[in-house]
């Protein structure tokens, strides 16, 4: 997409670009990555809300926050890269104007050339040296969208597609350098726990093992350097380690006890960003509907496990790795090695998936320490899949207690309390060495900020103690809150006897969100949740990352379990730049979310997760995938990223469909603990 944004103004063939992930540099600050942390909901377009967002856009610039995340790439790059393309174009034209002695306004550009009034073509490459000596022409007007040749067009191919279909695409894990050795590691499954002692005698005698060493950076463990990753993994597994306990409970059961103890406990109050009407008095009399929910810890488990190549010499360190946080890596490597940040060179590589996993850098810290023990030799550290899932920094588990009331066939009172350990301060503290003061918005993001008007409406976040270190997981707070908010709304709507779509529409206070709901209703031929014997459909909605998204899922209760028949997705992104890829991101989000909703969880015993590979953390396979239809609307103001908004509505849409088909309400993920699936 970045190549198309530049090409649109620079008049070059996007295929001619050389695309490298951004090197660490303050110029690449991400203005949009923190705008999602605004204390005002995305549907609020008031002057006050916009002012707060504009301030939040300055923060990353001040602190050079270079980061990929929060579905912010397109909103962040949309203006910047077109502007860069236009400035380069006009500056190249100025160089040509000076050479030809004509006015810049009399020149045009086409396919990498400046065109003189007489039709003479001068290649940009001939003008580049001259242009570099000219003060950039910064006063440029961006082209009107009606003049775009690439952006918004249906047939845009991904420029990396052929390389990804021929094996030519090089991910970080694929790079090789002269004399490189291969390393793997076995670190404490209890993250932050000590390495008390270890016995490496067997490992040291294994084939090709060059060195076995204790590593303290990141998370204590024992690493093996060998001539092949496979030898290194085998030897690392053969090291016998005596681990110290980390500073959190050993089992999932104890962790959920702490979450349950925190919810609705005044001592654990974190924030309440939604409070309308008088919930307490509404709930003080008559029949109160109550329900309790929970979600588990989840690994990101991208297909490419964590890896990094590091070469340390006396005066510099080179790091090659796929990452979302190159500047944090540079600074941490400086800290570990005692070198200056200017001596650390981070070469960012394409990633084989992330879903938030590569917002972490423990593997790089370890790789730097390992490479310091083999100066002059590039060392490629690869985590085994088991090591990767054990040290995933998962999506936090949480619990929700809901109370509500219906009155005269309408939802009247909606009160939910979510308890979760702090995520954002925990993660940022690991990266920057300092936490984030104040409330942790991720506890209720995706539930407090939904565009509905309910007479008595309250969403409260409670902070449980720190437990397993946690991180951002695909759609962050909305991944769980989307499930909580919409499923509990569906329960209350069921209590009213109203139609699930009609009542959501009646409650919705935001025009674009209402249109999204209406559109998914039309697409799916919605005529109520029931679809005949053993069949049902569910609707769900979540506004996340500024994108109102609604989904309908249809299921059949077969003799082999629940079968997913069809899914419909409607999202409003404001402006869509690449319809083909946007569609893939939306249905990919739905599939990722359904995968975890149906069959995935991390359960802890003895401080580490029991699930350490895909056999125990499977996700969905091709045969389980429903037919999916996607429609993207452009009614929202501005432009929004579509990477994550497809995730939050999927689990509630499925749960609501299962309820429609079977009468069974599932309030805990993964659903396969309660009902079978085909």
């Amino acid at each position: 997409m970045q190549a198309y944004l530049i090409a649109e103004e620079l008049d070059i063939d996007p295929e001619d670009t050389i695309r490298t992930p951004g090197l660490p540099g303050p110029a690449y600050y991400n203005a949009e990555v923190m705008a999602e942390g605004s204390p005002l909901p995305a549907y609020d377009e008031s002057a006050t809300a916009e002012t707060i967002r504009s301030v939040l856009r300055v923060v990353p610039k001040l602190f050079s926050i270079q980061m990929t995340g929060g579905s912010s790439t397109v909103p962040d790059m949309f203006e910047k890269l077109r502007h860069a393309g236009a400035v380069a174009r006009e500056t190249l034209k100025e160089a040509a104007a000076q050479r030809l002695g004509v006015a810049r306004a009399d020149l045009s550009t086409e396919d990498g050339h400046v065109i003189a009034p007489d039709g003479t073509r001068i290649a940009y490459t001939e003008l580049a040296a001259d242009a570099a000596g000219i003060s950039p022409i910064a006063d440029v007007a961006l082209r009107d969208p009606s003049d775009w040749r690439y952006l918004g067009k249906a047939g845009l191919p991904r420029i990396d597609m052929e390389a990804k279909c021929t094996g030519a695409e090089m991910y970080g894990i694929d790079l090789a350098y002269e004399g490189m050795l291969f390393a793997s590691i076995c670190a404490n499954p209890g993250i932050g726990g000590a390495l008390n002692s270890f016995d490496a005698s067997e490992a040291e005698s294994m084939p090709s093992v060059k060195q076995v060493l204790e590593v303290t950076a990141g998370n204590p463990g024992v690493a093996v350097i060998a001539t092949n990753t496979w030898y290194a993994i085998q030897a690392a597994r053969a090291v016998e380690c005596n681990w110290g306990a980390p500073n959190y409970p050993a089992t999932s059961a104890e962790m959920f006890d702490l979450l349950e103890a925190a919810v609705d406990n005044e001592d654990n109050f974190d924030h309440r960003q939604r409070e309308e009407g008088d919930v307490d008095s509404a709930l003080s009399e008559g029949e109160v509907f109550e329900a309790q929910y929970r979600i588990p810890y989840l690994a990101h488990a991208p297909m490419e496990p964590m890896n990094a190549i590091v070469k340390v010499t006396d005066d510099r360190i080179d790091i090659w790795t796929g990452t979302q946080i190159p500047l944090f890596i540079r600074n941490r490597a400086a800290l570990i090695s005692g070198m200056d940040a200017e001596q650390i060179f981070v070469h960012v590589q394409p990633m084989g998936g992330s879903f938030g996993h590569k917002l972490e850098m423990t593997h790089v810290e370890q790789a730097v320490e390992i490479a310091m023990a083999e100066k002059g030799t590039p060392i490629k550290l690869t985590w085994s899949r088991e090591e990767d899932m054990t040290h995933d920094y998962p999506r936090p588990a949480s619990v929700m207690h809901g109370r509500g009331k219906v009155k005269d066939g309408q939802v009247d009172t909606y009160d939910i309390s979510v308890s979760q350990q702090a995520m954002a301060p925990n993660w940022f503290g690991r990266l920057a060495g300092i936490g984030i003061p104040g409330p942790d918005a991720t506890i209720t993001t995706g539930s407090w900020d939904q565009p509905f008007a309910i007479p008595n409406y309250r969403v409260t976040g409670y902070r449980a103690p720190d437990m397993v270190p946690v991180s951002s997981w695909y759609s962050v707070g909305a991944s769980g809150n989307g499930f909580y908010h919409d499923t509990f709304l569906d329960e209350l709507i069921h209590e009213t006897g109203a139609d699930p779509l009609e009542e959501r529409l009646r409650l919705c206070l935001h025009d674009q969100s209402r249109t999204v709901l209406e559109t998914v209703g039309e697409m799916s031929g919605w005529d109520g949740p029931s679809m005949g014997e053993g069949k049902g459909r569910g609707i769900a909605f979540c506004l996340s990352f500024g994108v109102p998204t609604a989904q309908v899922v249809e299921v059949t209760n077969t003799e082999f379990g629940i079968r997913l028949d069809k899914a419909y997705i409607v999202a409003d992104v404001g402006l869509v730049l690449d319809p083909v890829n946007a569609e893939a991101q939306l249905f990919g989000g739905l599939i990722y979310a359904l995968s975890h909703a149906i069959n995935s969880e991390l359960t802890y015993e003895d401080y580490g997760p029991l699930q350490t590979n895909y056999h125990a953390y499977e996700g969905l396979r091709l045969y389980q995938i429903p037919e999916i239809e996607v429609k993207i609307l452009e009614n929202m103001p501005g432009i929004r990223g579509v990477g994550e908004p497809g995730v939050p509505p999927a689990a509630p849409a499925l749960g609501n469909a299962i309820f429609a088909a079977t009468g069974q309400r599932i309030r805990e993920m993964p659903f396969n603990k309660f009902i079978g699936f085909v």
């Binding site: 191919p157 991904r158 990396d160 597609m161 052929e162 390389a163 990804k164 279909c165 021929t166 094996g167 030519a168 695409e169 090089m170 991910y171 894990i173 694929d174 090789a176 291969f182 084939p207 001539t227 092949n228 990753t229 496979w230 030898y231 993994i233 488990a301 991208p302 297909m303 490419e304 496990p305 990633m351 084989g352 998936g353 992330s354 879903f355 690869t382 085994s384 899949r385 083909v580 890829n581 893939a584 991101q585 249905f587 990919g588 989000g589 739905l590 599939i591 990722y592 995968s595 590979n613 895909y614 056999h615 499977e618 996700g619 969905l620 396979r621 091709l622 045969y623 995938i625 999916i628």
Partner: protein, 153 residues
């Protein structure tokens, strides 16, 4: 140990129990086959041995027994992509792309055995290959398209 990969003979000095995947990746620097799980659960490491799809993380080099190995790098003809690769590009299947070498190698082998697959055949043949980005709908469409291309060829 000797082996033939994409028509080229190699000699490697490794233990016979080393999986083919790690011989390819770390000894021969052929990196199209990917490491994802090491236990035949994701199939990102899929290659062909004598034309049949196998999980290279489970095949010890000592058990190769002279079988000819083809990786994603050797699937295309010198002057044209394989029909499966063409279909993958036309349907814009890949997102992160990490699993797609394995997906394509699986599909190519499967279509060789079953040139006119039904939806159920495709579901059965492709369900050992994991994709965490969720590109499955386009994989399904691309396998159908590739089958058609191969029939017309």
């Amino acid at each position: 140990m000797r082996l033939t990969v994409n028509g080229i003979d190699h000699e490697v000095d490794v233990k016979p129990d080393m999986p083919l995947l790690w011989v390819l990746r770390d000894e021969l620097n052929i990196t199209g086959p990917k490491y994802g799980c090491g236990i035949a659960q994701c199939s990102a490491c899929t290659v062909h041995v004598d034309g049949l799809a196998v999980r290279s993380c489970q095949l010890a080099i000592g058990d190769l027994a002279g079988g000819e190995v083809t990786t994603i790098e050797g699937l295309a003809k010198p002057d044209s992509l394989h029909a499966v690769q063409e279909a993958w590009i036309e349907h814009q299947v890949a997102q992160c792309g990490y699993c797609q070498s394995g997906q394509i190698m699986q599909a190519a082998s499967f279509l060789d055995l079953n040139p006119e697959p039904t939806d159920e055949d495709i579901d059965a043949a492709m369900s050992a290959n994991l994709c965490r980005c969720g590109t499955y709908p386009r994989i399904r469409a691309a396998v159908h398209a590739a089958a058609k291309k191969l029939q017309e060829a």
